[in-house]
Symmetry: C2
Subunit: 645 residues, 2 copies
């Protein structure tokens, strides 16, 4: 792993400072990073990448590579609360004192930690490198510092530090990508390897994607005859709606358990959340933090609430109204197209029938995209202190709009117009168009751009450095210019909307499940490919579940119960049972729906989120640590009573 | 507190063994209790109460009093994870090493712990007194023991140990009862004193009772004019139903926060649950416990599931059917009474109108009582390993039946018969009758029995011991014969049913809230009285919330939303808005109901369960302990590097 041509240590993380950064700031930062821990430093190794070639030529000279000694990394592993496999097969929080009892720990610990873990530790150590008594960053009187403030975050928020990212491990990446998406034979994804390389957060996403796809297979199989044999009388869809209903409930309950299973095997299930640092861009007036008692920026909560309720909320409502307005235009177009077709039904006018839906689908995607930027801007402007609250507010804003934007027209067609033929056509067009658009926007376009760019960089490097072999230098240059992976947000959002299409209305268009299955199979490949070759390597993110998305999917499945019950109530077959009065029909449907909802909640409550055998193992770990503590105390007490005598 | 006439230490807890217990078992038990902790003993002080008078005369000689040294109690306080007030006003887990920094800690700690805390510690130490290598209790080959098995629990399950209970503190009890219920002036209950004497579990019950009563006052006030001005047209009840709806949601959310506030101030909010011992009566075949790895009785889960699904569930369903059958008989009686009144309407026949409801109310109470015993028997027979699962299964059984038994007739009258006049009359009779019965059964009867008994014991003691002053002896004798308080179950159950009457149907009988307020005011007094004078002192139970009852009340409030929406939909006033079709009316009501339910869930999700300022304080405590840990590690690392050099 060591590229002795450039650095004297294994390079793990790249720090890129702005190319006009003042010399004194660089010197200060490097000395702080290198300084001993006792003196408040990070005690890491850091070197400039291009020591000789400082003339530039479009090439930023302020790129630094960071590494560390094994000893330091092992100490860091304890700091970040890393879970590693113990000798008895269980996962335990690593402690340096107990290091010999961990599996695969040999000698001085060389090779014990994976590269991704080392990078995560270095990121943590850099993030928690705190200002001592510096009043500001040397050379930048505006970049104020105060004791305890994270130096790296201040540099980031002042744009002195442009980016920090971990390097890819070319060899492992090759192996991973081979077993992940280059093999042709059908098999499960190598989730453990994905986790080792990209961390738990991403592995859970791919695990979810795989699980969701497999769960859809029975539905796709059942849906196929509906399509093939043209069961268009909408009578048989009652059966399908009932199946839908059960499926969407069981689906999420089983996922929770298998996600717990995965998180347990990775050691993140019982991991406690670390103390969260403020976001880099969080700003406010200096005040006392009520928790830490330290001086730091404080932003009054009332002001944030005012922003949320007086600006963000009205803005979201306005967007929803706009989306409704666009929907009405779509209906106008739709009726116009139907009118044209009715006047002269031929091949061209029958194609015209699909045009409004396709245009609407494209417009929906564009609106989602624009709204996404607006939501990010607004949530940023709301100035949340923690990344987690920022994320929650962003997810909420985006989810509400996306849900409304994508499904409002379908709800309108289903329950106000009660036109099942139109619902089917509209659903199909929306689903197919959005799938195609997504695949293009998400994978092919970035890949194509990246490839063009890579060739350019390669040429430039050759020109600049002549024929010298500089693999590390080139690698760093290439990866510096790669796009940054912005997290699993968009990927989950896409799956959320697909889940909506399938669970809400698929009974009128049973082919939906099959389409989603096909989409997701290519999605696995394109997502895997983009992680390995289009984006910079992301820092790993320990995660024990899919977080707020579990809640989002569960909410959707509750809405699915209501929708499917209503669709069942609308079916002619069911209506035939209540020939005399609609009242009886509605009351029955409502009663059944209430029972189903109650049943769903009871089910979610009764089924334990963590499988029994894992609960037992967790309890055993806890019991053992309690016993150990008790024993230690007894020994201490015995010691004391001995010295007393 | 020391009664030097009998024992040489402050007596805290009483152990009563069966009066035919074999001498060798007694000797063994006492030696185990007295033995040092290093040797696996409990290291407590224990003495026989009646050393001289072993001849009996209806008086069990095997009564022992248990006490402890202060040193031992302080160590025990750390074992049980007791929270005490720190010097800075926060509540922290007590540690012996850090003892000087706790508030009110003086000298060797004499008086630092309250009597209830001492008793709780002693109970814990007795419960965790474990068998070493004894194969069985000496003298009882059937009472098998194995290493690690709790000795006391085995003695209890074999009926060798009849009871363990803490002694009352007569002086403090006098003070408490004065400030609690003897004062005439209106004021809040002294919950902190209640907590100090009876523990958090009971204090939370009284806190809930008080909160519930206060929360009902606005409803009672609004309900009064409905009754006084005879607004019997059932039109104005829409307003009341809407008020009901909002109230029942807000009520529970606010309670969660104030309960968190209380639990925080008592230090139980962030308390972790201790490792639970198996119930004393749990039995099974010897096997390996998967958690502790020790040999202990194992009962196969499948067998328990079979019992639950093949016996308990059918039994519960049968009881529900029976309850339905009784309800039908009630309706027959009701119609017969109405028929008689209609034939000859006079004073006597108008009284006759109330008779069926009263009889039905009494029958309901009797059925609840009988069912209660059956449910306890069944749940016991299901052989649950832990007390908490036993409690959950018992609560579920009892709640379902009680809910059905009490409210089925009201639902039937409201939604099938749609007879609001009958609903009103039935509700009033049920509520008033059950309140009266409850007060009699719960407080007056036990009190009267107790009083008679106390006098007898007093006389007997005088006769036996002559004129000697023996306050401790008499106290122990009196308290040994007192009834045992079986926990807050019945008290919460009563409040649960009252909450049901008020939140489900009070819009048709607005006086209900006032009746419940009046009932609860007397309830506070009678409950307080019975705790102080009717029952044995219970061991304190640390609690951070009202547990499963929070869920029960929340479920009721969800049902209340549905019921109130339906009642609103039935009102002539609302019906007038939809003169043409019932369909429109029903759809509107259902839509409104769904929105309300969604709103309720969102509200419950958005409102944090723990108030902000307490979250901050908890975070501060956690931050401080993290910082302390970090500092210690740094110091240790520095030590190591020093010694390395």
């Amino acid at each position: 792993m060591t590229d002795s041509d450039v650095s004297s240590f294994a390079p793990l993380v790249v720090l890129e400072l702005a190319d006009n950064t003042k010399e004194e700031a660089i010197t200060w930062l490097l000395s702080r990073i290198r300084d001993k821990q006792q003196n408040g430093g990070a005690e890491l190794l850091v070197e400039q990448l291009l020591v000789g070639v400082q003339d530039g030529k479009k090439c930023n000279p302020n790129v630094f590579i960071v590494g560390s000694t094994w000893q330091r990394l092992l100490n860091g592993a304890e700091d970040v609360g890393l879970f590693k496999e113990f000798n008895d097969g269980s996962m335990r929080g690593f402690t340096y004192a107990n290091r010999e009892n961990f599996k695969d720990f040999k000698g001085d610990g060389d090779g014990f930690l994976s590269m991704a873990e080392c990078q995560y530790i270095i990121k943590h150590e850099l993030d928690t490198l705190r200002a001592k008594d510096e009043a500001h960053v040397p050379g930048y009187p505006n970049a104020k510092l105060y004791p305890g403030k994270s130096v790296i975050r201040r540099l980031q928020s002042k744009r002195i530090l442009e980016q920090v990212f971990p390097l890819h491990d070319k060899e492992e990446l090759k192996k991973l990508s081979f077993s992940w998406y280059k093999k042709v034979k059908l098999s499960f994804q190598p989730l453990d390897d994905v986790r080792r390389y990209f961390g738990e957060g991403l592995a859970l996403y791919f695990g979810f994607l795989e699980y969701f796809t497999f769960a859809l297979v029975p539905m796709a199989v059942i849906g196929l005859p509906y399509y093939l044999f043209d069961w268009e009388d909408y009578d048989k869809y009652v059966l399908f709606a009932i199946f839908n209903l059960i499926w969407s409930t069981v689906f999420l309950e089983v996922w929770k358990r298998s996600s717990a299973q995965m998180a347990y095997s990775w050691g993140t299930l019982s991991r406690k959340k670390a103390f969260e640092e403020p976001r880099p861009s969080f700003h406010g007036e200096l005040g006392l933090n009520p928790v830490t008692g330290r001086e730091e920026p404080i932003y009054p909560n009332t002001r944030r609430q005012l922003k949320i309720y007086l600006v963000s909320l009205p803005f979201v409502l306005l967007c929803l109204y706009l989306s409704l307005y666009v929907m009405m235009i779509y209906f106008d177009m739709e009726f116009w197209a139907i009118g044209v077709y009715d006047e002269s039904p031929n091949f061209w006018t029958s194609i015209l029938l699909f045009i409004p839906s396709i245009i609407y689908a494209v417009v929906i995607e564009i609106m989602n995209l624009l709204y996404r930027y607006a939501a990010e801007f607004l949530t940023h402007w709301e100035n949340h202190r923690l990344e987690s609250t920022y994320q929650n507010h962003l997810v909420l804003k985006v989810l509400v709009f996306n849900f409304f934007n994508c499904f409002a027209s379908l709800f309108y067609i289903a329950f106000i117009m009660q036109d099942m033929a139109l619902l089917r056509q509209s659903l199909a067009t929306l689903l197919i168009t959005s799938q195609i658009l997504n695949q293009v926007m998400e994978a092919f376009l970035p890949y194509w751009l990246q490839r063009r760019h890579n060739k350019k960089v390669h040429k430039r490097m050759r020109k600049m450095m002549g024929d010298k072999e500089l693999p590390l230098l080139e690698q760093v240059q290439l990866e510096t210019d790669m796009n940054t992976y912005l997290g699993t947000f968009d990927d989950y959002l896409e799956q959320f909307l697909l889940f909506g299409y399938v669970s809400l209305f698929s009974c009128v268009y049973p082919l939906a499940a099959l389409l989603v299955v096909l989409n997701n199979i290519t999605e696995v490949y394109s997502d895997a490919f983009k992680m390995c070759h289009v984006f910079k390597r992301p820092f790993t993110e320990p995660a024990s579940d899919i977080g707020v998305w579990q809640l989002a999917f569960e909410t959707m499945s509750v809405i699915a119960v209501v929708t499917n019950c209503a669709l069942i109530g609308l079916s002619p077959q069911v209506k035939a049972y209540f020939p005399e009065s609609d009242t009886q029909l509605i009351l029955t449907v409502v009663a059944v729906e209430h029972i189903l909802l109650a049943f769903k909640f009871i089910l979610a409550f009764v089924i334990p989120d963590v499988p029994k055998h894992i609960q037992i193992r967790l309890a055993r770990l806890e019991f053992e640590s309690l016993e150990a503590l008790k024993k230690r105390k007894m020994l201490e007490a015995a010691e004391i009573s001995k010295t007393d005598k």
